[in-house]
């Protein structure tokens, strides 16, 4: 994980450079901050993967799940980490070596990179470049590259099918996702994450003395729903877990990975879910804002709420077939997202 941390700091540095040229207030680059954010996310992934996911799925399916090691079974995280890391790393015959080894690093790293511009609140934000939102999406999209590398390099037909599915479906959800986010940008008038969050603090309407803030989820619930849907596809969860699709193509692109590489892929997936949640929180749910509790805590609550939502979908929603998913992406989400963008542009143009 060393490499990703270094790159995170690089991201930090570029961010500050952009800020400096724009004349914004540059926060001094801080290695401990980068470390702590990366560490926090690693912890999130660790808690979510071996413990929270099991507990949540168990709650949906009337089971108890882990409860033997430690309070609430929490120490299973340690036990699982030891178990997974001590397993043999099986390298199948004929894998395309550099690509096969790099893919499990690319996937979690791309998600971590995206977090560089996320405003956690309480002053926790690594970098705040003017192009923050674009950077987050660009970084998150690198994961697709990792998936394709894993699928193609594994020398396994199921992996190949998974990789091909990932490529085929990529544009079908990526464009609607970004175009929907662009409608928020039109409202906010900026790509800078801190600004987007700040705009949402204004009051939308006051009901009985309670000020409802101008969260974009309230301003444009339709865009919010569309964004969450496309986000589910981006992170590859039901009903869109097409590239993995257990019971169809075994485990898709990750079929041949074991031990540490498997942990990295797994971690990457969970950090991706949290990145999806963080983007949804920052763009539509007012970022860290909320009553009483500190902003940082609110942001975390929103991120985890999204995680809960993905696990809910996983327990209850059937998977679409790959061609149906492409249909839904191209003919449904894409059209709706552009309609939303144009309408937003007209409305903003008329009002402002």
């Amino acid at each position: 994980m060393k490499a990703s941390w270094v790159l995170l700091q690089n991201g930090n540095a570029t961010g500050n450079a952009t800020n400096a040229t724009a004349g914004g207030v540059a926060r001094p680059p801080s290695a401990p901050l980068a470390d702590s954010i990366a560490g926090m996310l690693g912890l999130d992934g660790a808690v979510a993967g071996p413990w929270a996911k099991r507990k949540i799925t168990a709650a949906f399916t009337d089971r108890i799940a882990v409860n033997r090691v430690g309070p609430f079974g929490l120490l299973i995280i340690v036990a699982d980490a030891v178990r997974l890391l001590s397993k043999e790393l099986i390298v199948p015959d004929g894998v395309d070596r550099p690509a096969w080894d790099i893919a499990p690093i690319v996937i979690p790293f791309s998600a971590l990179l995206g977090f560089a511009v996320i405003p956690f609140g309480s002053g926790l934000q690594l970098a705040d470049p003017e192009t923050g939102l674009v950077f987050a999406f660009a970084a998150a999209s690198i994961a697709s590259l990792g998936v394709v590398m894993a699928g193609y390099a594994s020398n396994n037909k199921y992996s190949l099918l998974g990789g091909l599915r990932a490529i085929a479906s990529n544009i079908a959800y990526e464009i609607p996702l970004i175009v929907t986010a662009a409608s928020v940008v039109i409202f906010a008038g900026t790509l800078q994450m801190s600004e987007i969050v700040a705009v949402q603090q204004q009051t939308l309407i006051e009901i009985g003395g309670v000020a409802i803030p101008q969260w974009f989820a309230f301003v444009n619930p339709f865009a919010f729903a569309l964004f969450i849907l496309a986000n589910l596809a981006e992170i590859g969860r039901n009903p869109f877990d097409i590239p993995e699709a257990p019971t169809e193509i075994v485990a898709g692109f990750q079929t041949e990975y074991s031990s540490v590489y498997f942990v990295l892929l797994y971690l990457g997936e969970f950090i991706h879910i949290f990145l999806g949640g963080a983007l949804a929180a920052a763009l539509f749910l007012g970022g860290p804002s909320g009553p009483v509790l500190p902003g940082f805590v609110w942001f975390y609550i929103k991120m985890w709420a999204f995680f809960l939502f993905t696990q809910w979908a996983r327990s209850a929603v059937p998977r679409l077939r790959v061609d149906q998913f492409l249909d839904a992406g191209w003919k449904g989400m894409l059209v709706l997202s552009f309609a939303n963008l144009v309408l937003t542009a007209i409305l903003v143009g008329v009002i402002v």
Partner: protein, 554 residues
């Protein structure tokens, strides 16, 4: 019995009596070899197709239920057990003897597609060759197997070690053709969606299935041979539990019980029939629950709530069955002439448990319908995929929920009544959709019908006079049916028509014990349903067939 009267327009063609049928095919019939269940016509090996197609079109015998092959001291014999889908009691057997030195017989595959696999099995286990068979390979045993295990001169001591060069190497090098855009993919024998050790040799064009060739036999345990080595009275009954082991044990036991009871003319007391009916329907519910749950796994992904809900409800049935039989899976509860013991004491508690389960079932079913059949994504996934038209289904000998999901109104419980079914009020569920959704929906609806039957059985048992509770009739310690009696009898198992062919040789053990497995015939339809569709649909179709490899491979 269902209150629906059979539709008069479905009436079978006129030639239903044994002699009328014989007249139809008189030019081919050499002699008569009647079985206890049906007239048997002995025909020459080169007249198989003519005879079968005449009987099919003129006598309405459109269901090739089973093909039994066996070896006598002086000849080989293939028996085609024919039935009518409209009236399964309208039966006939076509017996095709072939000489010892040249056991070759015409294939029936052009007339009935289902003969394909059945004849492969006959070749594999007994050694009869079928001329013009489209795919004359072994089916259950490995291709390199030496000899035919059910033939009389088979040497069991003979080593089966075959040089490596004669094996097809499963790890062949990549084979890339210059042209052609297809990819070969092994689905199974270890794959999350094959429901056991099934191997599908799949050819793909992109994600679409061009061809799929099921490779079975991984779970072949010589069940027929085991039964041929057991005595009718005691030693066979434990084995049926191991065919369809998805809690359908009592249904399987009934198949054997029915065949031998008819053959040896054993009466079953009415009280025992009610208990059998009760137990069998509980088994059906348990089996269907698992079918629905695993189908959800196949379509939803492996973290679905539905599977756990289905298993939870199945667990309740298992507890009831455990109370009744003392076992959770390998029940061994039926005996010839009845059941092994009476209902558990205190009876009131037992009835109470069943009633509680039945009371909760409608709510549970509503939940399943909410989660599964009403779910729009599931409908998008399953409606009009894996289509199996009724004519194709009949040609493949499909039965059970697979046939009923293709609109074929065929249920042995009503059409060829046994047990206590004809005294009860229930309906046969059919659906005309012919697709994956229909098969799922039929199973969900059948749960309701089974619940109806159970409720009526409980009512009957509660009021049953205490001095008339005979659980077993008086059956001799040793059963020796008369020499060379033959019978084919079937019951409605969880997966379809589960039939047993028995031939006696005057001893206390059967000379031939043939199992007609519904899954075996149903699985044969998979290529018809899946060719041209996507991999996810192939997986869904396989799930909707609800096969149990223990029963396919026996």
């Amino acid at each position: 019995m269902s209150l629906e009267e059979p539709d008069p327009t479905d009436a079978v063609p006129a030639a239903t009596s044994a002699d009328a049928m014989e007249a139809l095919v008189s030019e081919h019939v050499l002699s008569r070899d009647d079985h206890l269940n049906a007239p048997g016509y002995v025909v020459r090996p080169d007249a198989v197709q003519d005879t079968l197609s005449t009987l099919r079109t003129e006598a309405g015998l459109d269901h090739l239920s089973c093909v039994t092959a066996q070896e006598y001291e002086d000849r080989y014999e293939s028996i085609y057990h024919l039935k009518s889908y409209d009236d399964p009691t309208h039966e006939a057997s076509v017996v095709v003897p072939t000489p010892k030195d040249d056991p070759r017989s015409q294939t029936a595959e052009p007339v009935f597609r289902t003969a394909d696999w059945h004849e492969r099995e006959a070749y594999d286990l007994v050694g009869i060759e079928y001329e013009d068979h489209p795919d004359p390979r072994r089916i259950l045993l490995p291709e390199t197997w030496q000899g035919h295990p059910l033939s009389l001169n088979y040497d069991q001591e003979r080593p089966q070690i075959v040089p490596l060069s004669e094996h097809a190497n499963p790890l062949q090098d990549d084979q890339r053709g210059d042209e052609g855009e297809t990819m070969f993919l092994n689905i199974g024998p270890h794959h999350p969606a094959t429901h056991g050790v099934l191997h599908l040799k799949t050819t793909l064009d992109g994600e679409q299935v061009v061809d799929v060739d099921p490779d079975i036999g991984y779970l072949h345990r010589c069940e027929e041979q085991i039964c041929q080595n057991g005595t009718y009275r005691y030693q066979i009954m434990p084995y049926p539990d191991r065919w369809d082991y998805i809690s359908a044990g009592l249904l399987n036991e009934w198949a054997y019980a029915r065949a031998i009871e008819d053959m040896a003319e054993i009466e079953v007391p009415e009280y025992a029939q009610v208990i059998r009916t009760l137990g069998a329907e509980l088994c059906r519910i348990a089996a269907h629950m698992l079918a629905i749950g695993t189908f959800a796994l196949d379509v939803y992904g492996d973290f679905t709530a539905i599977f756990m809900y289905a298993v939870r409800d199945r667990e309740k049935v298992q507890n009831i069955l455990e109370d009744l039989t003392g076992q959770r899976l390998m029940f061994n509860y039926f005996r010839l002439g009845g059941v092994v013991w009476d209902l558990p004491e205190p009876r009131e508690d037992f009835f109470e448990t069943i009633r509680d389960f039945l009371d909760d079932l409608p709510q549970a079913l509503e939940e399943y319908h909410d989660l599964i059949s009403q779910n729009e994504i599931l409908q998008v996934r399953t409606v009009d995929t894996g289509v199996l038209p009724p004519e194709v289904a009949k040609s493949y000998g499909a039965t059970g929920p697979v046939a009923r999901g293709s609109g074929i109104d065929y249920d042995l419980r009503r059409d060829d009544p046994y047990g206590y079914y004809d005294e009860l009020d229930w309906d046969v569920v059919t659906d005309d959709g012919c697709d994956n959704y229909s098969r799922l929906f039929v199973r969900l609806r059948e749960l309701e019908e089974s619940a109806k039957i159970i409720e009526q059985c409980v009512d009957l048992l509660e009021d049953w006079p205490e001095d008339n509770r005979t659980i077993q009739s008086n059956v001799p310690r040793t059963i020796r049916p008369e020499d060379d009696a033959e019978i084919y009898r079937a019951v409605e198992g969880a997966k379809g028509e589960l039939g047993i062919y028995l031939r006696s040789d005057g001893t206390e053990k059967p000379a031939r014990f043939k199992i007609r497995s519904p899954c075996f015939s149903n699985l044969q339809t998979l290529p018809e349903m899946s060719n041209g569709e996507y991999i996810p649909d192939l997986v869904a179709s396989l799930g909707s067939l609800d096969i149990v490899l223990g029963e396919v491979d026996r």
